[in-house]
């Protein structure tokens, strides 16, 4: 186990810089998820940590040791790939043992270690099978086993669940989280799925266009998004963002609707974006945000998503699953001031 530090890390392909000096500290044993849309640089960052991509500038430290010039095998890391990368010509046992090939561990100890890992992953009965006789989830576990067997300082996961179906993805998510609780190694996990990020991470690093947008616990990035990108990216459905003007005490939305919010660090008369999550917008809340007509309903069982046409545009709110408003009903929605987010309309940065 070890901590990990990235210092002003950049990556360029020719003259194009794709990673613009990112810095990050990951504590020993922490589960950190890098999340962002395609092309944000999360996988590049992971591959640079692994030593599979050269660093253009900046420093990578693992366990307090600079590893920029070390080969992947010398960095004490293990990586699980999106496509699993388990060798089809080797049995499960040989695949797991592959991680120990270059280890000087005595053969008996290697056998013991392989069995230990296989039993943690519930793979002992499958040790003699070839990968083509395994299901997707079992293949994924073999890939994790090959990484685990070396007991590396840092585990790197590159979108390992994206090839699994929804049910298996949920199951593997839990298994990886349990595994982390059990072995306690530092984990860097890359995904584009914000649900995976929210459910698994100790801390989430949200990236966009080669920049880190925000680093924080799942609760922090959900409840205190640093900017409109994070506000939209984290949470489903996305946060509603409404144009408004700050008059020093309230925000005036389209249709002259005034909304009470906590004090903002911006000049009166500034253009702002008011953000409210569907969960926080409730009918009957005294702090009215807006009103409109229900255009569409999406029943989800315990709750119903309602799409409401308002003077500020279409917004999404959640209603009770049993007695939701009907399509065409007029609704008035409000939110507690502490659940309302305000962003600078120009920069997108949070003002609350």
């Amino acid at each position: 186990m070890a901590n990990l530090a990235l210092r002003r890390l950049t990556k360029s392909y020719g003259t194009t810089e794709v990673l613009h000096g990112i810095s990050l500290d990951v504590a020993d044993g922490e589960f950190v998820v890098l999340v962002g849309p395609s092309g944000c640089g999360k996988s590049t960052t992971l591959r640079m940590i692994a030593g599979l991509e050269e660093t253009t500038s900046g420093i990578i430290e693992i366990g307090g040791r600079e590893v920029n010039n070390l080969e992947p095998k010398e960095r004490d890391i293990a990586m699980v790939f999106q496509n699993y990368a388990i060798y089809p010509h080797m049995s499960v046992k040989k695949n797991i043992a592959f991680g120990l090939r270059s280890s000087k561990m005595p053969k008996a100890d290697k056998e013991k270690r392989i069995l230990e890992v296989a039993s943690i992953l519930d793979m002992v009965p499958l040790l003699d099978r070839k990968p083509n006789a395994l299901s997707g989830g079992q293949r994924q576990r073999v890939a994790i086993g090959r990484a685990m067997v070396r007991d590396p300082a840092v585990f790197l996961f590159d979108e390992p669940l994206s090839n699994l179906d929804a049910q298996l993805r949920t199951q593997m998510r839990l298994e990886i989280k349990k595994l982390h609780q059990r072995v306690g190694n530092t984990i860097i996990f890359v995904t584009h799925d914000q649900v995976e990020a929210m459910t698994m991470a100790d801390r989430i690093v949200i990236m966009k266009d080669g920049y880190i947008q925000q680093v924080g616990t799942p609760a922090e990035v959900f409840h205190k998004p640093a900017n409109t990108f994070v506000a939209r990216f984290i949470g489903a459905p996305s946060m509603n963002l409404l144009d408004g003007i700050w008059d020093g005490e309230t925000i005036t939305l389209a249709g002259d609707q005034k909304v009470r919010v906590p004090a903002l660090q911006t000049a009166a008369g500034s253009k702002v974006l008011l953000g409210a999550r569907a969960d926080d917008l409730k009918a009957g809340n005294p702090n009215t945000v807006l009103s409109g007509k229900v255009m569409l309903r999406e029943p989800l069982g315990s709750e119903t998503l309602i799409y409401v046409d308002t003077a500020s545009g279409e917004i999404i709110a959640k209603a009770d699953g049993r007695t939701p408003p009907q399509v065409g009903d007029a609704v008035t929605l409000g939110a507690d001031p502490e659940n309302i987010h305000v962003f600078d309309a120009k920069t997108g940065e949070a003002l609350t």
């Binding site: 992947p72 790939f81 699993y84 010509h89 592959f98 280890s103 990968p131």
Partner: protein, 289 residues
């Protein structure tokens, strides 16, 4: 009785009329039959001629009038044929092994490594495919002469120890080996040579098998270069040696055909050994399910 009108879908899905289907089937079978005859007849005549007496050789009948195994006895008891057979085995085997190693090493390097001049090297290798063997024979001979390789195994083998075709074939097959496999092995601590041997090579077994068959057959049947580079009868390969059966007045076709029939046995064995490796889909089995 209901009035049934076929819908457009039903019409589209309707099977073709049995008559036209049968005609198509007959034409396909006929073409296959002609192709099969064209393939099998030379082999049948080779075996038939090897079982004929000299006076019957020019008789076109497929079944010998007086079948004999005298030719086989003669060829197998002739000490020269034994040596030609051994020479051919040694040359074809070593050349095949060398091709499997060198072609796959170069193909792997050109496929999986990024280095300056990579494309130029690849194009240069490919361009050698356009030069006919007849043109290369003179420089090869001059090289062999100056290095003292004439009339030796090394002299016969050196031009074919690595081939542009094999390099190209292997490079194309290595393209199907996912980079993730190689990177995973790199992280697991293997060096590049170990990755090539342990990870990449087993994944391209079908290509290796195909290459082994091509190279072995090519060298087994090679005639021009072995004829030029060898002087002594003991260094001949089977095709060169067989061409010398007979005397100035006549060619002993029955002996040539007997030798040719015997010489097909190793090629059949090579094919039977390697064809079981030609199974598609081996590479993809380790990827996403």
């Amino acid at each position: 009785m209901s009035d049934i009108t076929p819908t457009a879908d039903a019409l589209l899905m309707a099977k073709p009329a049995p008559r036209s289907r049968n005609m198509g089937q007959i034409i396909r079978w006929l073409l296959l039959f002609i192709g099969g005859i064209a393939m099998v007849m030379p082999i049948a005549y080779m075996i038939s001629t090897s079982l004929k007496w000299p006076h019957e050789v020019y008789n076109v009948n497929l079944i010998p009038v007086e079948p004999t195994i005298e030719n086989y006895t003669y060829v197998l008891e002739d000490g020269r044929f034994y040596w030609w057979f051994v020479n051919s085995i040694i040359i074809a085997t070593i050349t095949t092994i060398c091709n499997l190693l060198f072609d796959s090493l170069v193909g792997y390097t050109l496929c999986k490594f990024r280095f300056p001049g990579r494309t130029i090297v690849f194009i240069a290798i490919l361009s050698t495919l356009m030069i006919p063997t007849e043109m290369l024979v003179i420089p090869w001979y001059l090289m062999s002469q100056s290095f003292g390789w004439l009339d030796s195994y090394w002299g016969i083998m050196f031009p074919g120890l690595m081939t542009a075709f094999g390099t190209f074939l292997m490079k194309q097959f290595f393209e199907s080996v996912p980079d993730d496999f190689i990177e995973a092995a790199r992280i697991d601590g293997l060096n590049e040579l170990q990755i090539w041997w342990t990870v990449a090579m087993p994944l391209v077994k079908p290509a290796l098998a195909a290459l082994a068959i091509f190279v072995f057959l090519g060298n087994w049947t090679a005639f021009l270069w072995p004829l030029i580079v060898t002087n002594s009868v003991d260094m001949y390969t089977i095709p060169v040696g067989l061409s010398g059966f007979g005397d100035e007045a006549d060619v002993a076709w029955e002996l040539i055909m007997t030798g040719a029939a015997i010489s097909t046995i190793p090629t059949l064995i090579v094919f039977l050994i390697f064809q079981r490796f030609i199974i598609r889909g081996v590479v993809m089995a380790g990827l996403k399910g």
